[in-house]
């Protein structure tokens, strides 16, 4: 059994296994702390583990394409177990009808705002509450811009920077995908055989997104935590784990900010849709395991509400709020020490999360989309044509990969 995260996690899991898993199920577990990069050669030579915890979202399907992970949906109690998680968390692990990982962490974006500053300068009403943000749309964002910029303040929309691009895979930008999903669009066709980025909706959304940077002069690269703390960026979108960062890094502003659902899009029926994508971490069972049933027992135990809560509490016990655990288990998240207002908001946004599917070749999607963005922002070319062209390239790559695996 391998865990790829860190020393603290391994210590806690080890203890939990000794205290509750092994005594109850009578299964011995050897837990080792090994980075995910070793999984590949180890699996090939047969030295790999039965179970690997802490894998990124692109791994399960990549391994599934190459027959290296076990399809969890073959287990009889699969449906019961998976009901603890949101479908959006499971989606990235689906491939050709099977499910190849169990969600461990599920992280989605929310809107952070400096209540003190925004109310003081009057961009939001003094009595703004949850209801206000429920009705808050991207049009409202645009309306807010002149006032903010007049005071040299900004609204933060995230874009990956160089430091984050060392893993070789860039995910599709989360703001773009949010906008797209809120318009009712999708990244890929139902069967994952090609992208839908050449569709009208996708192209229009791309224009809308790049306009923020070209027309409205949004900052492309910024360290949000720092600027939120100083107040230069009193409002912005980030993964909800930014909460952890702010708690340790900016304790002096602790009462003055909140987070809420991200801006939405007005739908035909008058409601506001706040859909957003998410990222996550999962646990897989390797196909070469000879103890698949036992491994499944472990997965069930590990993913269970009780274990996840214990784990989250222990992490927080050691490192404080900096380590608040973004568990994928819905029941568990509710039991972690979130203030009740925050939990309500999280659950609300969580309902509106829609997963990003992983298809063969999808590693290329985020990359070309980033290229498209850079081209538009650096040289000012037409966003519609640019995205159209890159979508072609993405489709080519996907087709190649599908051919490679006999799916075409």
């Amino acid at each position: 059994m391998w865990v790829g995260s860190g020393r603290d996690q391994a210590n806690i899991i080890r203890r939990l296994i000794d205290e509750s898993f092994t005594p109850e199920k009578n299964i011995n577990v050897r837990l080792q702390l090994v980075p995910e990069s070793v999984l590949l050669p180890a699996t090939f030579t047969g030295k790999g583990p039965d179970v690997m915890m802490g894998v990124g979202n692109t791994t399960p399907v990549n391994y599934a394409m190459r027959n290296a992970v076990h399809d969890l949906s073959t287990f009889p109690d699969f449906d019961v177990v998976m009901s603890q998680f949101k479908e959006s968390a499971i989606l990235p692990y689906r491939f050709e009808g099977g499910v190849y990982a169990m969600p461990e962490q599920h992280i989605f974006p929310v809107l952070f705002y400096r209540e003190d500053i925004l109310k003081e300068i009057g961009v939001i009403p003094a009595d703004a509450d949850e209801a206000f943000w429920q009705e808050f749309t991207w049009d409202d964002v645009i309306d807010m811009i002149p006032e903010l910029q007049r005071l040299n303040l900004e609204f933060y929309l995230p874009i990956d920077i160089v430091e984050q691009q060392l893993g070789g895979i860039i995910p599709p930008n989360l703001i773009y995908v949010s906008l797209l999903y809120q318009q009712g669009g999708s990244l890929y066709t139902e069967d994952g055989s090609r992208t839908l980025l050449q569709e009208r909706k996708a192209i229009d959304t791309f224009k809308m997104w790049t306009d923020f940077y070209t027309n409205y002069r949004f900052t492309i690269a910024a360290n949000f935590a720092n600027r939120f703390r100083t107040g230069e960026m009193p409002i912005g979108i980030a993964y909800y784990t930014m909460y952890n960062m702010l708690s340790v890094f900016a304790p002096e502003i602790s009462g003055q900010w909140k987070f809420t659902v991200i801006p939405g899009t007005l739908q035909a029926d008058g409601s506001v849709d706040h859909t957003t994508p998410a990222t996550g971490i999962g646990t897989i069972i390797l196909n070469q395991s000879k103890n698949k049933q036992a491994a499944w027992e472990y997965l069930k135990w590990w993913g269970s509400e009780e274990t996840q809560v214990q784990f989250g509490r222990e992490m927080e016990g050691i490192m404080g709020a900096a380590a608040r655990y973004p568990t994928a288990n819905v029941g568990a998240l509710e039991k972690l020490p979130w203030p009740s207002r925050d939990i309500r908001v999280l659950l609300e946004q969580w309902d509106a999360v829609r997963g990003i599917p992983e298809v063969p070749g999808s590693y290329i999607t985020g990359r070309y989309m980033d290229n498209a963005l850079r081209m538009v922002v650096n040289t000012g070319v037409n966003p519609r044509e640019t995205l159209y062209r890159y979508a072609e390239l993405i489709n080519d790559e996907i087709k190649n990969k599908r051919k490679e695996f006999g799916l075409e």
Partner: protein
């Protein structure tokens, strides 16, 4: 060992060969432990990779034979590879020779300093390889953030009003990579040159002064460089190898993958196929190709270096 003055008889030849082997047997024994390990851990993997270049191998399933397919795709279908070659050649041609000469120049200068200062300077040059955090500085310098050093500088002076996305702009990325690579490449070559310069016999200089060598350029060409030929060769090999294999700098500075592949080099292409795209057979083919190119350039440069001092 008896040497006769007549032409050696067959008996004597055989004896000589036996003694030769016997004498060499000890040498072989001395070398055996090291080389057997070297063979197992360095040569063997290379040999395996050379074979893998002819397979399709996604590291999760057994390799399947693919013949020349990898090479065919590489040469005729891989546009990104062409970009990688173009970038690598650009980076290598600029940073290779310049880096080599700069390392020598600095080593020469440092060599003239008093020993204490020399030790300090050597530490300073060696420091980045221990602390390993050098790229942070460069990324801060060229950060697209308004507070990145260069951007802040330009904005404060009023030269620009918006921060420039240096590392995300294909126009600037190549130049920045070259700059950083030049700076980083001083490391090993510099130390080798310093050691080499130190070991040149001082008496040679004195003799040369007597013989009429007047200025320091003559001294350099006729005395210093020839005495340092081994170091020059060694550093040249290192330089060529690392220039053609530029990847670390490119990845750390421009990201991996880089925007529009502006920082894509042969080795990053290889890494991409080897680890992200699960195509180790293809990556091995790229590595083999690179290997032969390095071989070729090394032989070329060695030919040139043989003429130093003449």
């Amino acid at each position: 060992m008896q040497l006769s003055h007549d032409k050696p008889s067959r008996e004597q030849k055989r004896l000589a060969r036996k003694i030769e082997f016997h004498k060499n047997k000890e040498l072989y024994v001395l070398m055996f432990p090291y080389f057997s390990l070297f063979f197992v851990f360095t040569v063997l993997p290379v040999a395996v990779s050379l074979v893998l270049a002819f397979t399709y191998f996604n590291v999760l399933e057994m390799p399947t034979w693919a013949g020349w397919e990898n090479y065919r795709k590489l040469f005729f279908e891989d546009d990104v590879f062409m970009v990688a070659i173009k970038n690598t050649v650009l980076f290598a041609v600029v940073t290779g020779p310049i880096g080599y000469f700069a390392a020598f120049l600095f080593a020469w200068f440092v060599n003239e300093l008093k020993p204490k200062i020399r030790a300090v300077m050597t530490l300073i040059f060696y420091a980045p390889s221990i602390s390993g955090g050098a790229y942070i500085i460069w990324r801060l310098l060229f950060s697209g953030d308004m507070y990145g050093y260069l951007n802040a500088f330009l904005i404060n002076l009023g030269i620009t009003t918006e921060p420039i996305q240096w590392l995300q702009n294909p126009t600037y990325i190549p130049i920045i990579i070259i700059l950083v690579q030049l700076w980083m490449s001083l490391g090993v070559s510099f130390l080798a040159f310093v050691a080499g310069l130190q070991s040149v016999d001082r008496t040679l200089y004195e003799a040369a002064a007597v013989d009429g060598i007047k200025n320091r350029w003559q001294e350099l060409w006729f005395i210093t460089l020839p005495s340092m030929k081994p170091q020059l060769m060694f550093s040249a090999v290192i330089q060529i190898t690392s220039s053609l294999a530029i990847s670390e700098v490119a990845m750390q500075v421009a990201g991996f993958p880089s925007v529009e592949n502006a920082g894509h080099t042969i080795v990053t292409h290889l890494i991409y196929h080897g680890s992200i795209a699960f195509e180790l057979g293809y990556a091995s083919a790229i590595a083999t190709l690179l290997f032969f190119v390095m071989l070729g350039s090394n032989l070329l440069v060695q030919k040139m270096l043989r003429r130093v001092g003449t």
